[in-house]
Symmetry: C2
DNA sequence: TATTGTTATACTCTATAACTATA
DNA sequence: TATAGTTATAGAGTATAACAATA
């Protein structure tokens, strides 16, 4: 298939993301996590401490959006939320041992599902796909937005 | 980077889709189209006639969701919606010349934006990415959903 | 006065249920 | 009775604005 006959990227990617999210949901259910809860755990596993607003922004959510999520995760002992002694307005967020364990277990199951999907690809395509994804997913969003023509 | 250190697919793909959609919005605006309107035109450009319910399903929308969209596109002369003579309950949908032109013009501008993005990739990655995307975006959704472990 | 986290409110988007007309 | 399309309603999800505590 010639390159210029391909469908729009968003038209191919959006249904794929929908399918992946749908496939993750039952897996996360088994681990007692919502999509936002899992997002929060993943972000904290990577960068232990932050302000709530920064955490929200890093996962593409509104700061008011994740408050209930944090309440729930804290209640279940998966993360700690303690006032920063040097600025008592801010809440320092960190995973508990349980939080790290639950996050890792969920991610392992998700990885299994993903590998089954990726096994459909020829090795070269798989390599190119993952490599491209690493590049594209880290392009600053502002640089993707098209320059206005006016 | 080792393969098993990669982030979850959805965690990489979702922000990319968000960025692509955000980049498409101003382009579609210039052509007087919404995302759903563009989706409808694209689907009809590929498969000229269908029932509204089938069209809705093919673009991942509820059948009630697209009625207003069809009203608008028809009013502006971009598509025709005529009762099927053989079953007057159904509405046969087809693009007008204007509809085909507008859809093509919008897609050309979107393609330009996408090419600028893809130019960041090494040739091999780009090839693998697009090839993989063609495969993955056509995997039946049911086959992605993970088998239950119970 | 500005900022962090929070709560309450309003808004957008989508799905559900009820209706009309055809079959 | 069943189905296509439509309309009206309700629900989920999200953002906006106002508030309390701290700086």
């Amino acid at each position: 298939m010639a390159d210029d006959e391909r469908a729009d990227l968003a038209a191919m990617l959006a249904p794929l993301v929908r399918a992946l999210v749908a496939a993750e949901r039952p897996i996360l259910d088994e681990h007692g996590l919502t999509m936002w809860g899992y997002s929060v755990l993943l972000a904290l596993a990577e960068q232990p401490t932050r302000t709530q607003a920064a955490l929200a922004e890093s996962i593409g959510a509104d700061k008011t959006r994740i408050i209930g999520v944090l309440d729930d995760l804290q209640e279940r002992g998966l993360l700690q939320r303690t006032p920063d002694p040097s600025d008592r307005r801010a809440r320092v967020l960190s995973l508990t041992e349980d939080g790290r364990r639950v996050c890792g277990a969920a991610q392992a199951d998700i990885r299994t599902m993903e590998e089954a999907l990726l096994s459909r690809l020829p090795a070269a395509d798989r390599r190119g796909f993952l490599s491209a994804l690493r590049v594209l997913s880290t392009v600053p969003r502002g640089e993707i937005v098209s320059p206005r023509v006016h």
